[in-house]
């Protein structure tokens, strides 16, 4: 197996330019794009995720690593598209109608991207119908709903009901999160899962979609 140690280390250290350069070097040496991604870039990012979980890394360090990962993926993208390699899954994220708090949602998006998901950000104060429309348009596999206020929690139920009434509920999994949210509330409104924090959201997303951790 090709030695990707240096590439992995550069991903972990967030060395964007070096990652792109090393990816090109591996391709020049005849490695496939999928091999470089699966055995170099993604394992490097997985170590970053582990370091974050264990309290060794903060988000800024994780973001730097994610950027270096993206720099490598940019080099690989034309080759991956040609060979039809797809992201883990597509997630549509948004803060529900009436609520304008979004730092939690943004954090979850960062984590999911770091975990190999493609994230579509619907923004804040998103009406239920807009969620359904964007999910259809983008072929989202998972919907992430965020709310910070007790007075906007009911919008989560409205959004899930909209997926139901528009006949699209079976096409997506829905996870919810935010300061006042509980597992009981998720069960009550028919969500598929509750993410107690941004880190757990990635684990939950993988679990809901049956993606290997």
């Amino acid at each position: 197996m090709q030695n990707y140690d240096e590439l992995r280390e550069c991903v972990i250290a967030g060395k964007k330019a070096q990652v792109a350069e090393l990816v090109r070097k591996h391709l020049d040496e005849g490695k496939t794009a999928k091999d470089v991604m699966d055995n170099g870039l993604i394992p490097g990012m997985a170590i970053v995720g582990k370091k974050f979980q264990e309290g060794e890394f903060f988000i800024p360090e994780m973001l730097m690593a994610a950027r270096s990962l993206n720099a490598g993926l940019e080099v690989l993208r034309p080759l991956l598209e040609a060979s039809d390699v797809k992201p883990v899954a597509k997630v549509l994220m948004g803060t529900v109608k009436g609520d304008i708090h979004d730092i939690g949602k943004n954090l979850v998006a960062v984590m999911l991207r770091g975990g190999g998901f493609e994230v579509i950000d619907a923004g804040v104060d998103v009406p239920p119908d807009k969620f359904v429309e964007l999910a259809r348009e983008n072929g989202a596999d998972l919907i992430g709903l965020s709310a910070l206020l007790t007075t906007t929690m009911p919008s989560m139920k409205d959004t899930i009901d909209a997926f139901q009434s528009q006949g699209y509920r079976e096409n997506v999994k829905i996870m919810i999160g935010g300061a006042p949210i509980t597992q009981e509330y998720a069960d009550e409104i028919g969500a598929d899962g509750f993410a107690r924090n941004a880190s757990y959201a990635v684990e939950l997303a993988k679990k809901l979609l049956g993606v290997a951790a």
């Binding site: 800024p60 304008i100 954090l107």
Partner: protein, 455 residues
């Protein structure tokens, strides 16, 4: 316009709970900062929709909450309290809802004043809904107009004081925090946020003056409390959040420069810095606001408070009653203790305990101690421009943390210490406001609209 150039107090020792150099009298004869700490009670709806169809049910909730709060104050013999009505976004957007709640609360307060002589005042905190659009329109657009209309209607329908948790610069600060980008934070807190505060508070002060009510104050919650919560979840370094706390005081101070007179908003832990500079009374929260959020400042926040708040609690039933009245009782006992100390001349001893029990357990607590707040305030006043003041406040916070760590009193992990070095270095390197704006515009340009900040 007041250009604060001198400290309101001679030394940190002069900063004391219950006493403010420039007290505020408001509402039904409520005096804040004249030698007594009073509760500030805040409350919110249980899980329910805020929409027109629900208005009768919403008003019933507020009737129940406020009546029970006022009754508990009377029962416990508390002579007065600040009542805060903080808008959820829909209460600012749907003007009729926010206005109806304001009028309902005010009627209840008047009735308790007439019947029991209970001295209260109503602080209405309008929601800053301008950040709804991305990039946000801070000076134009429907949301901005609606927000100012909500201030006008609040003033006309019962508010005694006006406040806001303003968000100018948050669109940049949020990302800069997640990236630990100190140059970005200088752009957000040293350039954008003060410009927005000046614009915003000139208008709020004008509305308050027109209605002969109090333009109270702001809070850097959107910046510094966001940072504190992110740090608590181990997403960003604690030292970064503590430095942001100090830096954020400048944008809050701008509100006072253009006419806000206090009491500052409860969740603004930069309040002691504002008090040190302006002498205005401050509202703070700590252990009795654990119902709303975690903090490291449970006791130390009491050291300089004039109002003592619970931040917010849902109207849910507990064993002894509904949560708002329960928290009114908790706040009342906290205030009784402080007031007893003031009466007995024991306030210094109590303040020292508030400080020593928290200060060296966390950098978040350390930077809001009376001494640290005083030093940060002095650093701010040693400069003229908002940008230079913001940078100086950040550097002073770095020094305070470094000194506390050097004495061995404050345990600072190596990882945090390394981040402190980096933060200080970037603050030192970025003395040129023009360059920070230029670099920041290149990096964060898609997040903010310069013209919405008068740039």
């Amino acid at each position: 316009m007041t250009n604060f150039s001198k400290m309101a107090y001679q030394s940190a020792d002069d900063l004391m709970f219950g006493r403010a150099k420039v007290p505020v009298t408001c509402g039904y004869g409520l005096e804040v900062g004249t030698g007594m700490v009073l509760p500030e009670v805040n409350f919110t709806l249980p899980t329910m929709k805020v929409e027109h169809e629900q208005l009768p049910a919403i008003l019933r909730q507020y009737d129940d909450m406020v009546s029970s709060i006022l009754q508990r104050l009377v029962t416990l013999g508390m002579p007065g309290a600040m009542i805060e009505f903080e808008h959820a976004p829909q209460m600012t957007e749907e003007l009729e809802i926010g206005t109806a709640i304001t009028a309902k609360i005010r009627t209840l307060m008047q009735s308790f004043y007439e019947k029991h002589g209970l001295r209260t005042a109503l602080r209405v905190t309008v929601c800053d809904i301008r950040e709804k659009s991305r990039p946000p329109q801070m000076r134009s657009g429907e949301a901005t107009e609606k927000m100012f209309e909500a201030f006008r209607l609040s003033a006309a329908n019962g508010a005694h004081l006006l406040s806001i948790e303003s968000t100018g610069g948050k669109e940049v600060s949020d990302r800069a925090l997640m990236e630990a980008d100190v140059q970005g934070l200088l752009l957000a807190l040293g350039i954008l946020a003060p410009r927005d505060s000046r614009f915003l508070w000139q208008k709020i002060v004008a509305i308050a003056n027109e209605h002969k009510i109090i333009p109270a104050g702001d809070t850097a919650c959107a910046f510094a409390n966001t940072a504190m919560i992110l740090a608590d979840q181990r997403y960003i370094p604690n030292v970064l959040a503590a430095v942001v706390r100090a830096m954020s005081a400048v944008r809050t101070l701008v509100g006072n420069e253009v006419g806000a007179v206090g009491p500052t908003k409860d969740c603004g832990y930069e309040g002691p810095v504002i008090k040190a500079i302006t002498g205005c009374p401050v509202s703070l929260e700590g252990k009795s606001a654990a119902c709303a959020h975690f903090s490291h400042m449970g006791n130390i926040a009491m050291a300089t408070c004039d109002l003592w708040s619970n931040e917010s609690v849902q109207n849910v039933k507990l064993l002894s009653g509904h949560a708002p009245e329960v928290f009114t009782e908790i706040l009342t006992y906290d205030c009784r203790l402080m007031n007893e100390a003031l009466q007995a001349g024991q306030e210094r001893a109590l303040q020292n305990l508030f400080v020593s029990s928290d200060a060296y357990k966390s950098v978040h607590a350390l930077v809001i101690s009376p001494q640290a707040s005083f030093e940060i305030a002095e650093a701010i006043l040693s400069h003229q421009s908002d940008f230079d003041r913001t940078r100086a406040a950040g550097l002073q916070a770095c020094q305070i943390i470094r000194d506390a760590s050097a004495t061995g009193k404050l345990p600072l992990p190596d990882r945090e210490s390394a981040w402190l070095d980096q933060i200080e270095e970037v603050l030192q390197e970025n003395a040129d406001e023009g360059k920070v704006l230029e670099d920041g515009s290149a990096q964060f340009g898609e997040l903010f609209l310069p013209k919405e900040y008068g740039l």
